[in-house]
Symmetry: D3
Subunit: 278 residues, 6 copies
């Protein structure tokens, strides 16, 4: 396994049974992202999605100062955004396809068959929000400084924040304020509006809380967890009737799993069930 | 009327003018549901929807310990979930059609032409959440123990929770946590995230609060209430433009009611209007 | 400019650079709306949307008592709602087209290329809610009395509240309660459920807060702000995948703006950027 | 079985193995429908959907002159359409719920787990079109006289034609012409625009052709047929991506059927497979 | 009335009772469109939509050579498409809003409460197709030369063809071929694929045919026709279930019209009914 | 380039300027597909999508007998479909993810930035239809034998046919007949219902016709072609309003291309324009 998950900018560890932790590891640059990083991040998430030894994923940032400062603007400005002599439409086409590829990497979190928990600490800007709204559960430390930062660099956020934040159950008035002003918001406000579901003292406590939730999830039937994540995401985006119909055919097959019997028996016998790997 | 609403597992009463109360009555089993019960429940809701003497419905559970423990797992395990020698696809087809039928019974709450208020107390698990998210207004007592329980029996919830909870205005991070972990959550948390809109001291206070809201609704134009419920549900699921167009044709007919004139006149004359039955 | 924005029932001013304020000005009738008013309101919003000197809009109500009492029911009752001898279907057709025209005026707030901030104070009923849910950011004073008032005059709200409120990130249980009962709700509750994002001491403080937010927005790239508003509204109504695809083609062109370079340079040089008018 | 399918206005027979035929039997009234008939028709279709001895359904009309003249207008005019003294909105509510119930009966054809083939002959008006567009395969005789007849009685067709005809693959220009003019169209035109897929000499030939197609379908894996019908209907109404995702989870369970092995083996061995009942 | 419909580039006449004809009148330029023309065209259609003396609309082109050559490219190239020194994003914003305004003018055909019939003859390029796909019924003369011409001027058609043609019931393979190649197609092919529903000898015959269909429509209940058009358009774009629900509430009000009784009585008495104006 | 497109089972050639041809090359097995083939096919299509020397793609099959016999059932039956001892749900999960991966490979045709033309000849079964409905233009030879073959092997087609065929503009009655019976259909019928847009004498003529259309497309502005394909696909799946809005923002950027000026000038000067590579 060490080989499998060996990437320059990410530390992948298994701090508890069935629980993987992906740490963004470029602390000298406040964990800012360059293109190689989101491609690698996507590769890691895809592997974890198929890894039978992983049942829940935690994402965190290395170093004391930042979860991530977002896109490495300096690096980006030397790349696709540099002055170019080509046609507007030809640039537009390249940009469109780059954005779609980048979005796709982050959407891999949503497509991942295992729940993903994010632990925000310190500076958590821009791409950090794009990642978080694609995660399942969000935790923040008291020192967190969150910001939908993109308007500050002259663009509308395009890697998912403007699409997923309106569906996050947060006040839409608040969503618009933070997205239109790029102002920072902090732990208490994030909890009050429901952007995060837990606020903890510091990063260590955040990781601990995340491991606790992840382990609890990992103790459940992986079939049930796999379905629950997918059905929640599917239903969020569609009319109730489409959600119900998709659920019915989902369980038509999945309910034939032996996990149901195991779980029920364990329940009756008041003992902890074990489940086959998924 | 006593005859009409005479069902083994439900007590149907009219505690106030135009207000019906449906009490789940199987307290010795913590009001757990067997198939007959959801079929009967659906029948009751359909009747109330057409009953001109009913303008609002309250749902509650008999006994001190539970609103409902959810599906009667023991009974269910002897039914559709038992080992069977038939083909996977043939079982899948039967299961799919059973789920759809079961979902349909609960969706009758949403289709009911009268607002439905649920009063949670004590244990309120699984199917109790499925029912609640189909109701219009949710109230909880201080002793409530709520749980999206299904992953604990090895399956993804399939009677509506995973479909309607993401549309409930609650923090999506919280929705996922409670659905993926099956952990209990309590009155304060339920109020803070907006799952319920009122927390009350105990079941009696809950019924009282529900009757108060129901009576207030029952004092309004039944035409206005009927439209308001339907338009809110329709719009939740569709783009704004579809919501507006449907609203326009709805009121094109409905606004020709004499209720408008009655309501306006009463307003000007500072007296309580009365309206024809719907 | 004074000429351009000269309307009987509205005061249009520019209290800060790039910030327009539209004050409803019929205080002797609690700022209640007659048809001419929503047509004029729509005209003002459309002009501001194209006005290069406007980058954010504030809406407020004149006088101490009310933001607006809603539709001027007395005037309306002498208009379309009066008894008429024509055919039900012919009346329905006229009503449908009137409602669509009226909805369209309010939807102009959503279509406006500049963010719109509403400041509620005192009585803020009916149409006031319809307007607010089409605005981007909502602020309320401590003395506010908000109400989805329409059921009290015998009809389902048809100018947008029932369509947009379920998408506002507020508890759906709460949304239904206030829409079905027409009860008043106040500043604290409005803040807690996320209907407004700020509560302030009084109207003056509300205007000040609104100007502060509006000025902050006005200091950002108008290209970024224009896109952020549109992408948030588009995404709210559609599946995540449609949101992402629309975002990609949006930025394919918009990212070629010089604002990105200006904003980045200013960021690096720690100075405030200036942007061309939009 | 004779008992099971014993209805006053319908003859239900099994003209070939696994093939049911439902004959509308009120020839003295040109098979015009009264309310009891569509309720019974729905009941028959629901039974056939669950009947393991039925794998395909044929619908035809008794007597030489008409498949159906549509709604029995005379009977209807003595029912819901009669002058009534009640409120416009109250009548609207009753009408809305009646229409939904009626639509539901016809939609049962679409929900039926077995393909449904319609054989049109002679007069085939109004409700006959509503039924046909909910069927899977349409056949017509040379003497057929088809008409979307509703505008001729002063109303927009409301039992499905205006909803399903635009999705039938027929020229939309043609769809609008026949729906807006209520003019008759005949076998050749119906074939050319794709409204029917076969034109035959007379009713006997039509029944024969229908039995031939139905028997061919009945010889295939019932699991495959059940899925094919549902997936075609689902996909017609939704974006491609939703169609593909639903298909993937559908087959995730269904493909585990033994029918696949049986069908493949029979294919290799050049013999006709047999399949368990569904 | 002559005054009301007095426009430089359009002749509006009433060739039969309740039938309006709008003739594009710039034959010296092959009826090519400049901006003023689509604004005026929209104004005419909106007036006809409300004009009680109009129950169906015919659109045709003056002169022997062309229905329309499409956009007046020469004029357009001196307008928005000319070289400009402004920012890419600022140009993009202006272009986007111009396109939306232009689309809106053409969509007015679809929104028009009266059916619209188009008669193509001679050259019928580009915008001519955009207009046609927004019309209800399409007729062509034998000498017609149709073309989705836009790729020939370096752009994707943006006034509706690429959006509505895939929903026209024509072979999608054919749709793509003509849109991607900009090749001409002629009367026979247009009829075979269902793009038009009638081919006639020449323009005179086309107008005659259009008047015949328009008069037939104009003889029906205007309430029924108004609903039929709207319900067909609504349903084309939405899932079947949304089509049915919208239809139910539509008719809940509309069916209370006296037209139903008039139409039925006339039917029984074998005489032509007359209906109140809409 | 020879290296770039060097695959065991596919011959990739450039028979005309800017025109690529992908020939399925496993004629000894009737071009039946094994997993490696669809992965490679996807890789080829993705490369061509980005290859500036390619502006249109042709897909054909090697050998005289078949375009493709579909999935290599024998190979498949030894793979995922073999008997396995694992849990139903765990098999369902693997199957679901395999189907999604397979669908994704075929959807790459739709995502390809260049139009794709398919030439069917001889046996063209199952997967051949899945591929064809994802292509833009379909051509068939006179000897073609087409079949939606999947029900014959006991399953509902799951790689796109059941999803895209209902949106192909073919008669839905016909679509269902061929999908439910798996019967063969031939060139004339395929042309009549609009499944293909051209029927040609033999394979050579088919390739020639395809090159002719592809070359015509390749002579147009690549910016215009790229947009036209994407906008047609987007609009097919969504309401008209979403199609129009997406089109407006698409062209807001794309119309700033120099191709418009080049195309217009060439048009005025009656000469063939040339365009920069995309």
């Amino acid at each position: 396994m060490p080989d499998t998950y060996n990437y320059e900018y990410f530390n992948v560890t298994f701090p508890a049974e069935f629980v993987a932790q992906v740490e963004i590891n470029r602390p000298e640059k406040l964990n800012a992202f360059i293109q190689k990083m989101w491609l690698n991040f996507s590769a890691i998430i895809k592997k974890l999605s198929l890894d039978p030894d992983c049942r829940a994923v935690i994402i965190s940032g290395a170093g004391p100062r930042a979860f991530t400062a977002g896109l490495d603007v300096q690096a980006a400005s030397q790349g696709t955004l540099k002055k170019s002599d080509t046609d507007v439409a030809r640039k537009a086409r390249k940009t469109r396809e780059s954005i779609i590829e980048f979005q796709d990497c982050i959407t891999d979190i949503e497509r991942c068959g295992k729940p993903v928990i994010i632990v925000y600490h310190g500076i958590s800007y821009g791409l950090g929000i794009d990642m978080g709204v694609a995660c399942d559960i969000r935790i923040a430390t008291k020192d967190v400084r969150l910001s939908v930062k993109e308007v500050d660099i002259g663009l509308a956020a395009d890697i998912g924040t403007l699409t997923r934040l309106p569906k996050s159950g947060c006040s839409f008035s608040w969503v618009k304020e933070v997205a239109l002003t790029a102002r920072e918001f902090y732990a208490d406000e994030a909890l009050r509006v429901g952007f995060v579901s837990h606020v903890v003292e510091n990063k260590e406590a955040g990781i601990k809380k995340a491991i606790e939730i992840a382990s609890l999830i990992a103790s459940k039937s992986p079939v049930a967890v796999y379905g629950t994540k997918e059905l929640l995401n599917w239903s969020r985006d569609r009319p109730v009737d489409d959600g119900l119909k998709y659920t019915a055919i989902w369980n038509a097959g999945m309910i034939q799993t032996s996990d149901v019997e195991r779980a029920m028996l364990s329940g009756l016998q008041k003992r902890k069930p074990t489940f086959e790997k998924l």
